[in-house]
């Protein structure tokens, strides 16, 4: 197994991606829209057997990005799946927790801090924020003031 074979395997989902960037042998970034997030994540975990590390949410003014970081340990290659959530009014993306329990906490955390909804999450409760934190205030969004 080498890097080229990995790229070839990833091409199986190329119709669901909007781009593949390869910064080095050990770093690959896949780009996709929120509608395809579930399918691509499922492919990475179930077909490619990559290990889920964590997800990072970013508020990029006009849209949100959720970067799912996977590690393909055979090659020591980190695969970043960058998902664009473009609806700022009602940001939502399909939860991956139903097939990947490792994502339960981080999806709850992103929901707390950015107000992004994870559809079909089995236990969507607060993780970071206190129970009496006001509804609809998301501390990691750009509009939140210090």
């Amino acid at each position: 197994m080498n890097n080229h074979e990995l790229i070839r395997k990833l091409s199986a989902i190329s119709d669901k991606l909007t781009g593949i960037e390869q910064k080095s042998e050990k770093r690959i970034t896949l780009l996709c829209e929120s509608a395809n997030s579930f399918a691509v994540n499922k492919f990475l975990f179930e077909q490619l057997a990559a290990r889920f590390c964590i997800a990072t949410a970013i508020d990029s003014d006009k849209f949100f990005e959720i970067i799912y970081h996977y590690s393909y340990d055979q090659l020591g290659c980190v695969i970043n799946l960058k998902v664009f959530v473009r609806d700022r009014q009602k940001p939502a993306v399909e939860s991956i927790t139903p097939f990947l329990p490792a994502a339960e906490w981080i999806e709850r955390e992103i929901h707390d801090l950015y107000g992004i909804d994870f559809l079909n999450h089995p236990r969507m409760r607060r993780l970071i924020l206190a129970d009496d934190w006001p509804q609809g205030v998301y501390p990691m969004r750009k509009e939140a003031k210090q």
Binding site: C53, I67, V78, P101, P139, Q146
Partner: protein
């Protein structure tokens, strides 16, 4: 931000003046068998990722080394690797070796700390006293090298802040021999003890398929037969130049995790020794100018597993987003797979077996079917120790004291 929090909350339960962390586990039980487990955390969320956005790239290592005192070498290392990836900087070789030495010494003291705590939970306080006693010289070495027992503050973007003086090398090598001898004795005492075999084997099993689903890392994964280690898979610092093995066990129980950590300690000693002998001469830091726009990932194998940092730069002097994930964030939720179906006397131990960043198990409550709290942490600790005692009696063994453990 609107600050109209409805009412102040005084969370008495999960806090304790002796603890550095606040977590609360709630177990649901049927009789003495655990049927569900829930965790509440973030009682003291420090907002490290948000604070990081207000600091300059150079200041962030000091912040992230304080995410955890025990992992205070691996967090800044993962961070600077991410920034070095953005800036395209390669640190000088000597710096890479020094990073390796500090990180492996950290692993030795962290694993010994865990062995001690594990002993404490099952009523082997002798093991606790021993392991922590042997850990002291490791901390002394770290203090001599970096100036601090923890929070070393030695790593920076482009290299290291302080060199390891060549004159110190013979002393470190001598100390390592001593630490190795003591750890060997401790390891033999633990692995040869029939009570520990009976007490730890088959307890808190994390099956391989569950380990994959919960994406656990470090000794928690390696104890379940998953051969992953960032040091080998994506070599950083000087790990690619050293000769060492990834230790795995197949059973996934508490005993397997203990074996992995004990044997890893010897691999770490071996690595520090090699790194000291190979230590190249030269500068310890490369010059770093501006950090260009871009994003980078840095990961490092902390004592508890993979620590991963993501950094994004817009070309300014501060990160615009910095994500840090400590290994316990993925290791702790695997409790759902390893605790359910267990006897409550095994729970403290199973929770402690993933080495949650300092033992978070001090705040365990057991709830029966009618939602009454029936046991607190003290009772669970007592139950755990009583089970050990029962095993010891059934094996016809006398009560253990320090002299009995002296083997080899």
């Amino acid at each position: 931000m609107k600050q109209d929090v409805k009412k102040p909350v005084l969370a008495v339960g999960p806090f304790h003046p002796l603890q550095e962390e606040m977590e609360f586990f709630q177990l649901t039980v049927d009789g003495e068998i655990v049927t569900d487990i829930d965790v509440r955390l973030s009682y003291n969320h420090r907002g490290v990722e948000k604070i990081s956005e207000t600091l300059q790239f150079d200041q962030v290592p000091f912040l992230v080394s304080r995410i955890c005192g025990i992992c205070s070498a691996s967090h800044p290392l993962a961070y600077v690797q991410a920034v070095e990836e953005i800036a395209g900087v390669t640190p000088p070789e000597r710096a890479l070796y020094i990073r390796t030495i500090i990180n492996e010494l950290e692993r030795i003291h962290s694993h010994l700390l865990w062995v001690g705590l594990g002993g404490h939970f099952i009523g082997y306080d002798t093991v606790f006293m021993w392991a922590w006693k042997y850990r002291e010289p490791v901390l002394d070495l770290l203090e001599e090298i970096t100036g601090n027992r923890n929070n070393y503050g030695n790593v920076k973007v482009g290299g290291c802040r302080e060199d390891v003086p060549n004159e110190l090398i013979p002393k470190i090598l001598k100390e390592l021999d001593e630490i190795e001898k003591k750890t060997e004795m401790l390891t033999k005492a633990i692995l040869d003890d029939p009570v520990l075999h009976a007490r730890l084997k088959g307890v808190g099993v994390l099956k391989k398929e569950d380990a994959v689903k919960y994406a656990v890392t470090g000794p928690t994964a390696r104890g379940s037969g998953i051969k992953i280690d960032v040091r080998r898979d994506d070599p950083y610092a000087a790990y690619g130049d050293l000769d060492w093995d990834v230790i795995t066990q197949t059973d996934g129980d508490v005993f397997s995790k203990a074996v992995v950590r004990l044997l890893e300690t010897f691999q770490s000693i071996k690595m520090v020794r090699q790194a000291l002998k190979k230590l190249p001469n030269g500068p310890v830091a490369a010059e770093v100018k501006d950090i260009p726009p871009g994003e980078g990932i840095g990961h490092a194998e902390a004592p508890r597993g993979e620590t991963i940092h993501y950094v994004r730069s817009d070309g300014g002097n501060r990160p615009i987003r910095h994500k840090a994930r400590a290994p316990s964030y993925v290791n702790v939720p695997s409790f759902k797979a390893s605790c359910i179906g267990q006897h409550i006397s095994d729970v403290t131990l199973t929770l402690a077996a993933v080495d949650p960043c300092y033992s978070c198990t001090e705040r365990v409550a057991v709830v029966d079917k009618s939602n009454r709290i029936v046991h607190d942490y003290e009772t669970l600790l007592k139950l755990s120790r009583e089970k050990t005692e029962k095993i010891r009696k059934s094996l016809g063994l006398p009560k253990i004291n320090m002299e009995d453990l002296l083997i080899g």
